[in-house]
Symmetry: C2
Subunit: 405 residues, 2 copies
Amino acid sequence: MTIEIIKDGNITSVPGFFAGSSHCGLKNSGKKLDICIINTPEGSVCSGVFTVNRFKAAPVILDIKTLKDQDRIKAIAINSGIANACTGSAGMENAKKMQQLTADALGISSREVLVSSTGVIGKQLPMKKIENGIKNCASAMDPDGGDDAARAILTTDLIEKKAAVRIITEDKKEITIGGIAKGSGMIEPNMATMLAFIGTDAQAARDVLDSILKKANEESFNSISVDGCQSTNDSAFLMANGKSGVKIERSSSDYDKLYRGVAAIMKQLAKKIVMDGEGATKFIEIKVDGAPVWKQAKKAAMKIANSNLFKTAIFGQDLNWGRINAALGASGIVFDPDKVNIYMNDKMIVKNGIGLDLKKSEADILLKPKDIIIKVDLNNGKENWTVWTSDLSFDYIKINALYHN
Amino acid sequence: MTIEIIKDGNITSVPGFFAGSSHCGLKNSGKKLDICIINTPEGSVCSGVFTVNRFKAAPVILDIKTLKDQDRIKAIAINSGIANACTGSAGMENAKKMQQLTADALGISSREVLVSSTGVIGKQLPMKKIENGIKNCASAMDPDGGDDAARAILTTDLIEKKAAVRIITEDKKEITIGGIAKGSGMIEPNMATMLAFIGTDAQAARDVLDSILKKANEESFNSISVDGCQSTNDSAFLMANGKSGVKIERSSSDYDKLYRGVAAIMKQLAKKIVMDGEGATKFIEIKVDGAPVWKQAKKAAMKIANSNLFKTAIFGQDLNWGRINAALGASGIVFDPDKVNIYMNDKMIVKNGIGLDLKKSEADILLKPKDIIIKVDLNNGKENWTVWTSDLSFDYIKINALYHN
């Protein structure tokens, strides 16, 4: 199967998707874009996955309800700067108002609108600014608006995250999938502070999209960690507007193609979130192999990814394999320590649970690249899982200790 | 009941306990003490709790075996600088040799000796140095040797941890309890890199000591976290030599007194470990109240204690209550977000799940002290739990990124 990457593609690379962005004054600095609307005027079937944090932000609660009642969605309005989380009943009123304002501006029903917010917790949305922003977004709808939208949803992120692919079905027809995302800190399984908006012109029922989104989410956004912290606002959406005329059913051979296309987009976006992790100087891939079941492999990989000691060692370019062992041993999974082999960038560093005596010059070479690949072989089965994380640097502390909006 | 604190007390404050320390060359810097023996010549009943990390260090594996076969212990030999962890069969041979050398030096059976190591993972013990060290320790046995022993077991710790108390039984008899401990990084529940040695002159059977040690451990060493990382070497021992002639049985009214005395010592040592946390500038107490069961309260408190975002906010003296909410919501416990109240140093900062609008000057005053007390009231029951942690600072990164032995 061919997945063709669309260079610099994003959600509006998908036929039938439009986006409009604006600056309405939510972000402190300059005239940065801080609000946008993604719109597919003929409607789409939409699936969503959300944070499991008990403090769910108002837009998350509202979207869960909206998607429970129906699944035809035409637009998503997104603001950055303020999360509308921990804002009580006033926050919920504002989320509903944002939904209604978007519906009014586009001349559709509020039931066809989802809303997302990201930013500081505990502040109320300034609704006058939001109202102006939504009007401006609605009048700026653009079939090439995806790039601006990718910028409008950023908070402490430094770079926009976007990706698009084209896949060819069994019948030689074309499906496009594209997405944008945000997130840089507070990133952990169960999605943490990240938002992702994926669109496709495939035609698919809600249960098909649900199953694809859930599985792709597990191996992308739920397989990354910057700081082990989980947010109140995480949401990922998959919208299928059917424009291609290609209908995907669970039983069809194209189901797997759509799944792999969506997963490819989501992994791309997830990796970009990690690369943009707060203060990150290294991009770390951790693959745990040789596990009896993938969940054990994932649990072990995430434990290493979340170890502050491991992350500071990588920042310090220190080959402290003992910290990988210690995190692995603390993960709660079952394995034989005497059978564990560990590789860094393909070089074996631990054999049968014991670190090899590498020369300092060899270790220095291993730890110099920006990309560090750790492979752990448990030799206890055939399943594996891969996760991505960043190191823990002085700048992470700086950003998170001295940042307040 | 009165617990009388023995000022500057330690394990040799307990009648019948001796300690000898020495420098044998395991630590890189200077002539620092790096090996010691704790000895109670007439023997003691000993209980131990150990790390649950699957990569258990050789001395841990050996001690678990020794204490399984019997419970009369006369001596514990401890070295710092090298952990003897992830050292394979050679490491196990060295641990056994260290045990035998100690037995020979004291003229006792190796079955009456436990061994502990702490320091760098993956290095073999230099047995010639260990042998000399043990001989020197054995010939330096001192009824006031506890202070030196407390220094000899330190690694990256800055200050020694010691405590002792005296309790009066129902019959007006006196029992003494004293201990020393080490640990500063890699501190988390399930004990992380910490060692603790507690002695008492009470007389008690193994099952009595086991039950006291397990319970006291849960609310002391298993209720602290510096960085959420768990070590390969953690061990805590409770030795009862019976010198006081006071026999404690499970059914006796003095059982609770002994428990509370041991718990007081262990909490003191645990707090000192947190205060000495790597790079710590703040000492943080987190109490979660109003939970249906204590385990839920503890789970929530530990999740907050391990949140990098919360810890960096406290370091930055930033009243970011949203990060407390987010960690609490991510803890996996069941509660109603709208009922949560949070207090910092007795001042309410979150009411019904929503942050109060404090003035910056008020927030600055709250966050200035070195000691920060967070109280979370879930309003969902009557149980509570308290844990202790430190903030996450630039120096934590410095110590852990640039440290290698």
